[in-house]
Symmetry: C2
Subunit: 218 residues, 2 copies
């Protein structure tokens, strides 16, 4: 009986701080993207490519969320971007207060794009906004084309679905049209980018979307 109202309080408190962060990003003209997926879908790999390929074009920073380890922050920092790691110590998602605290460790002046890489989890992070302009969800072709249908909230609220590891398509049963149709049914405006971080296939389309989203924020 006590669970529902308390969860609602936690979500309301999270939304309040997320609203403050959205105002801060608007004031400083920073595009903030909340990057989410299951564990191992390639969020960090996508960031490594994006940060390296666009480093002469944009000033970018990353907040990394993980239960444990600072492996991911080290990987993205190797590209030269600013990076800060949040360890949730078992927590299943990032919340807006954790992100607010992490911002104290970043230089926000002249920052163009802030990526928040969430904990690997296709469920819980969907409910906790962190002030982002867009949610970007990754799915891999090895996870199965039924995942938008089975994890609907995540795809319903995302502006972009990145379908990673398309280089593995010949070796798995994955119907790209079916995955796209499921996602579009949940969210008619969702943009779908099939990519391979390994072969670089499709990354240019993602970068083009990023440029437009960044331009819209100025």
């Amino acid at each position: 009986m006590v669970e529902v109202p308390v969860v609602r309080n936690i979500l309301e408190a999270n939304d309040k701080v997320a609203g403050e962060l959205a105002e801060l990003y608007a004031e400083k003209k920073i595009l903030c993207l909340n990057l989410m997926s299951s564990p191992g879908s390639g969020k960090t790999s996508l960031l490594e490519k994006t940060l390296a390929d666009l480093k002469d074009e944009f000033n970018m920073a990353v907040i990394e969320g993980d239960l444990q380890t600072d492996n991911d922050a080290k990987r993205v920092a190797a590209t030269g971007a600013q990076a800060v790691q949040i360890n949730t110590e078992g927590g299943c998602h990032l919340n807006s207060s954790q992100v607010k605290e992490a911002l104290n460790h970043l230089n926000l002046e002249n920052l163009d794009i802030l990526f928040v890489e969430n904990v690997g989890n296709l469920v819980c992070p969907a409910e906790f906004a962190v002030g982002e302009d867009h949610k970007v969800t990754m799915l891999t072709v090895t996870e199965g084309d039924d995942k938008p249908e089975k994890y609907p909230l995540m795809f319903h609220i995302s502006s972009v679905m990145i379908l990673n590891k398309v280089d593995l398509l010949p070796y798995v049963d994955f119907d790209l049209d079916k995955a796209r149709a499921h996602a579009s049914k949940l969210n008619k405006d969702i943009e779908v980018f099939p990519v391979s971080c390994r072969t670089r296939e499709g990354l240019d389309d993602w970068y083009e979307w990023l440029r437009k989203a960044r331009a819209a924020k100025k």
Copy 2:
């Protein structure tokens, strides 16, 4: 300030009902396994193979947990096993009360093995026991060999780690020894079974473990 004690109450309430379920399984000599993984790691595929291959040996039933859809219950029911679907309507894990309710829809007489297929999530289900004798965690070689290190609780508390999709090993960067070493560091007794539900490689080792676990319950 209110979050921690409330979470603790929820966990205590869950453990209480899980204890009742464990007593019921002991009384009826049913082996209960809680099957967990990220979305798309192949939990349902493993069950399809296991239920079909061992159907003359054991009387088995499945409780399926998903946010939405009854696709998985239909897939496992096609093998002839008893199956019941729990839709969590967005909830990120199964809890023991949901499993207790689902048991009303199964015939437990002469049942040898009950599989509980949890919501696809490598974080939250780890904290909610459902009366199981063992937790069995699946990981795929496409998710990366760093996952035990990054999602430690799940591997710390599991009796078995099934490494699925080994047929894709030639196409991904995955160090099996590294994944095994990380998991063993978290849990020195964990049993590791590399398998491919697609090619059937390694399934016999899993079946042999299942037979021993079942025999120990009698």
